[in-house]
Amino acid sequence: MKEISVGITYGIAPNRGTSTDVLIDADTYRRCGLKHASAYGPQAALAALAATSAAPADRSFRPRRALLTNGGPWSMDTALAFLHSAHARGPQYVNPLQFPMTLVSAAPSSIAAMIGAGVCGVAIGHDELAFFEMLRHGAQLLRHGLADEVFLAAAVAPSPALKRILHAADPNAAQEVGHCSICFVLGTALVGSLILEESMVLDSEPEWRGASMHRSEIGVDGILRMAGKGPEPHRFLSASGAVACQHALAGSTVPGAIGIICKTRSKVGAALFRRQQLPPS
């Protein structure tokens, strides 16, 4: 079985895994290249930046290229605005162009069109372990011969609806949602020093389950503590795994295995990479 090489690029440069001074403004929406980006929302714009950062200048149709993004409540603002407009003014005043963007799959399928992904452009997962599912599904597409390269665009950005939902779920939570715009590219034809061995999400043992929900108890916090950087004040939701992997991989340059584990209330996500020494060219 061919090895799966991993390349990592950034739509927005990571700053300890969060870009606290990132402003998602009109310039970001314009720069990301996604048509009607502001209607899709800030997470879609960051995902587009991430995917295009990894795609070559020639983005013509590639029948063996796939795109996966992390799922989550990213379409909620558009969906709620759509409903509000219908209720407040009547269905006949709703802008039909907004309708497709109320779907979770709208952003990945449109970003797939930007980079010519001819295999798929879909969103996967919904919680802090979504990226481990993306890694796994991407590896499966390669191993089962359905793709030659898979772009994993992980993005998160705060949005009004998201903040309301998070506050409703846990009013005592002080953490703010961070920003993330990372693209991992998996391929069997790439030559690189980083190899993906395996990734999966499993139910955790009953005794691991804690009282809090949707919190990564071992993940970005733990990895940053081990790296001596202290706990991270921001949450990365369904891009958490990508941030954790990026931190772990950036901090390791010697050949060997690198394992990343993230835990939520009832599940564990784990990914195993291997850094290898390339022969001198």
Binding site: H87, A113, G118, D203
Partner: protein
């Protein structure tokens, strides 16, 4: 190897056996939206599930979750089955309900699509619009082939929502009546709702259907309109046949996506005709009878493909004697006889151009 062990469904016709009989008869059941989707909805004919509790505020969940749970129980999957879930739209209504019910403890404890969790165990979720059902099936088959599980349960569900009824109506994509896929009289799609669940295993049990091959394709073209040549559909079909080790001539029948829209039907049929070099096998669509089940549509097509291969009967598109088909391969008015056990292809496509094709054959 992966086998379909059992199928459960809930559509406007009822459970899966009743739905199958209605498909063979070309029967359609439509009601007007009326108060089904709440304030602000438009008044259109839809293929709605009868007697479904639609009060969103009652328990902070919604009709999509109730449909999902009903079908999951009917499936009777093994307790150690891994769950794979695909859906499309209903979650927006659920968040609307959550935001309205912020003082209720159950609303505060629930986020977004957490409510689709059937228990506290892990469920893989994938979102590819109307191709979601077959997309998660692909993930389940991969995991079974890789030996991660011995059993998997795949569930796809969507319920009527204000967003989809208003959105499709404002987009001008709706037929004013039932849909007429692949017929000259087609004028748009009919919104439906339902849930379909399939249990999969690595060994055959009784009369099982084998999943021979799965293919994916993406138009990478437009947020809603298909590529005129059905580029993604063609790629998905080719990939499924390649994985199955089949030539196009080995396929006995096709259960197409067939929504009843002018552009969609044309593009899909063009892709099929290209793959079969102008001589495709019989083609049908069940969206005239069941409406478009959105995220669950693909899994419904898989159920039809499974039953067709098992029984040797391909359901027709009921024209009610009103119009001819746009191609001679389209099965109109009477069920088509095919060889029992022959491979049958199921196709599902979604907004944005994602398509999944699956070939199955009954043992």
């Amino acid at each position: 190897m992966t086998f379909i062990l059992n199928i459960a469904a809930c559509t406007c016709h009822g459970d899966w056996p009743t739905t199958w009989k209605s498909f063979l008869a070309g029967k359609s059941v439509l009601v007007n939206t009326g108060s089904l989707v709440g304030q602000g909805a438009v008044s259109i004919p839809v293929a709605a599930v009868a007697n479904l509790d639609r009060v969103l505020s009652a328990d902070a969940t919604g009709p999509a979750v109730r449909l999902a749970r009903k079908v999951a129980e009917a499936l009777g999957a093994p307790r150690d089955a891994a769950w794979y879930i695909g859906s499309n739209h209903g979650e927006a209504e659920l968040v609307r309900a959550l935001l309205r019910e912020l003082t209720k403890p159950e609303a505060q404890a629930v986020l977004y699509d957490e409510i689709l969790s059937l228990d506290e165990g892990h469920a893989f979720r994938l979102y590819s619009a109307c191709a979601s059902g077959l997309s998660v099936l692909a993930a389940a088959v991969f995991d079974l082939d890789d030996g991660l599980h011995d059993y998997a349960a795949v569930l796809a569900v969507d319920a009527l929502s204000a967003i989809e009824t208003i959105g499709f109506a404002r987009s001008g994509a709706l037929s004013g009546d039932r849909a007429w896929p692949f017929l000259n009289s087609r004028a748009g799609l009919t919104i439906g709702e339902g849930a379909v669940a399939v249990s999969l295993g690595r060994t055959a049990a009784g009369a099982s259907t084998e999943v021979l091959g799965i293919g994916l394709g993406c138009d990478a073209h437009h947020p809603t309109d298909p590529h005129p040549d059905g580029r993604g559909t063609g790629l998905a079909i080719q990939a499924a046949l390649t994985q199955a080790g089949l030539a196009p001539s080995d396929v006995a029948a096709i259960v197409a996506h067939g929504t009843g829209t002018s552009k969609g039907d044309e593009a899909e049929l063009r892709a099929i005709t290209n793959v079969w070099c102008g001589d495709p096998p019989p083609v049908t669509s069940v969206k005239g009878c069941a409406g478009h089940l959105m995220g669950a549509a693909g899994l419904l097509n898989l159920a039809v493909a499974h039953e067709s291969s098992r029984t040797g009967l391909l359901p027709p598109i009921n024209s009610a004697g009103t119009a001819a088909a746009i191609a001679p391969c389209v099965v109109v008015d009477q069920p088509m006889l095919i060889a029992p056990g022959a491979p049958v292809l199921a196709i599902a496509s979604g907004f944005g151009g994602n398509t999944v094709a699956v070939v199955v054959a009954a043992r």
